[in-house]
Assembly symmetry: none
Homo-oligomer: 412 residues x 2
Amino acid sequence: MNIELLSIGDELLIGQTINTNAAWIGQEMSLIGARIVRTTVISDTTEAIQSSLDSIDSNTDCIIITGGLGPTKDDITKHTLCSYFNTRLEVHLPTLKKIEDYFFKRNRPMLEANIQQAELPLNCEILNNNYGTAAGMWFEEKGKIFISLPGVPYEMKGIMLEEVIPRLKEKFSLKSIYHKTALTQGIGESFLAEIIYNWENSIRSNNLGLAYLPSPGLVKLRITSYRGEEDKKIIDAYFDELKNLIPEALYGFENESLTQVIGEMLRTRKMTIGTVESCTSGLLASQICSISGASDYFMGSLLTYSNSLKISLADVSPETLEKFGAVSEEVVKEMAIGGRKKLGVDCCISTSGIAGPNGGSIEKPVGLVWIAIALPTKTIVKKFQFGDNRERTVQMTVSSALNYLRYELETT
Amino acid sequence: MNIELLSIGDELLIGQTINTNAAWIGQEMSLIGARIVRTTVISDTTEAIQSSLDSIDSNTDCIIITGGLGPTKDDITKHTLCSYFNTRLEVHLPTLKKIEDYFFKRNRPMLEANIQQAELPLNCEILNNNYGTAAGMWFEEKGKIFISLPGVPYEMKGIMLEEVIPRLKEKFSLKSIYHKTALTQGIGESFLAEIIYNWENSIRSNNLGLAYLPSPGLVKLRITSYRGEEDKKIIDAYFDELKNLIPEALYGFENESLTQVIGEMLRTRKMTIGTVESCTSGLLASQICSISGASDYFMGSLLTYSNSLKISLADVSPETLEKFGAVSEEVVKEMAIGGRKKLGVDCCISTSGIAGPNGGSIEKPVGLVWIAIALPTKTIVKKFQFGDNRERTVQMTVSSALNYLRYELETT
């Protein structure tokens, strides 16, 4: 089944509202095996709506329209649909009753504009809105299905889940799509593509889809089967193979975050954690604490931005600092070991780097970062080079440190 | 000037990525007085791109295409544009040189796919990408302007700001809109609207526009004049008036961040700063350090998530902790005073709160936060209640702490 979305609203075009409705509908439709082929965002004018309806692709089976059904004057979707389908509005008594109840319950006055919301096209099936006053509409016209929903996210979602999705499943007896997504950190998209070249070709030759979904420092790899659940085993086998190809990069599946993965590992191992941060200046700790329940394993941190605090708080020796400089293997190692002791934790991650844009030199260019992890039995250290964007370097340091710890805990 | 956006990517259609690019471009275009008339999101296939190019409205002056320019195989925008414009790809030497430099600086191997990124259509002007390897393209064909940009947000934004917007302004000699934006923190949109009711009416009666641009914890107020710079003085006078109406909330103008405002204040006062954080767990410090040059005034922090570290690191007395609990006026005050001493700074901010979703009680509900600031001459403390969303509470604590310090430094 091919679906087009039509999102109506000037607030979307000028960027005052981000179109999260389209993303949510896209996710829900993928899950039932329907395919969104196009999303169009337009202004709330009769002309724009009319012209979009006229340009629907002939292969489209269903059009989901959101927005333009509220009680204010710029809402004209309903009138435009009437003229498009050559029908007229009439008061729909059950809807009028619902709107009256809605205002009565909230003890608020009902306005003329609200009464008009009960006027609905004659040729449609009414979709119940249990979350507001604008009813949804289901038209079967011109060999296609047209669905019109309010733009307020929780009203739209309610009608979709309760009224639209069950009807679509029945109407199109949908075969289901099956997706699985692996999450990787630390290998850029192009380099990853070379490493997994043969693996990718094998996937495609099996009539499965592969998509690279990059975000700073992370690349998601999604395999899609249009044959549905029956390909689950073969896809799982591909991911097992991938895990062997890139064990240092692959940290999880689906919607897991690195922070969640590490949280689970620390919890099952009954280990506590802390950080000693210089270039990340607290972002690493705040990431670890971003999930509820982090106080089970996270104790605290020392943010030693100045050299004197590296000495007084993290027990870095003044001689090491003098001899190797703050951004060095030796100092970051002493930071992790000193922090582990001072914070009384099992595991301490330390970071020191040159975030830039200033402070670089030939031997220590902007983007150079050292990360150390002090564990009960050993301390490990790794060098990174992240380039010259300050914000990105800090983010990459955080995700690299978390993934470095994940790999270390997993393999020891 | 009428603009259409074309966002390419299956990840957008299936909702794995939310189309924040379209919202950002919409905002930027509004600022220069251009109008987004339609945004279309399509799949990364030749057919979909081709068909969208064919259905561009005749009144559209400019088409901005994002996505589909990365180095992996599912990126086909460039080839489709070549066939649409009846031209071919050729290696663009300056771009090749830039890509080589990019990999050389990062000490990473350059791959065949990256070299191919330097192959660009012959009929376009190349738009410099200072943030990645995919160049932007500017075509003037068929009486319209076509702009193709990578989909990675920070690369797209960089090229838009540095290359596209200046060219669009010149090309279309856009009638000058004059905007000025005031930045406020700590007052919700509806409450703010009540406080500034008369001020707002006076603005509107002067034929100026006022927009509320809310984001979590912050509300921007933008005054717009369609008469241009000539209204600068009258708009400045309105903002002077606003500063008197809401001195605790109004912290700056235009694109200043609270962090920048505070950085400047500390630098001119030659003061140093540090933090002792519990519920914000490093996010406050990382915000202060997010701007280059922060090492001039930021020394370091103690993240005392556990009670034992509040005692051992920040010198909070065990009796105070026992008697009042970690989230209390007394403890947060001792944290700030202890941290000021331990970190050797002029000014120390401390935070302690219940971020949730668990850990609340009737006396201390989820969302309760205490913030203290220890200064050379005094220590001040304030209580906040932020509701039950963990992430929002942490963010609100950070912005409230920064704004509290800003107001204190400004008024003493």
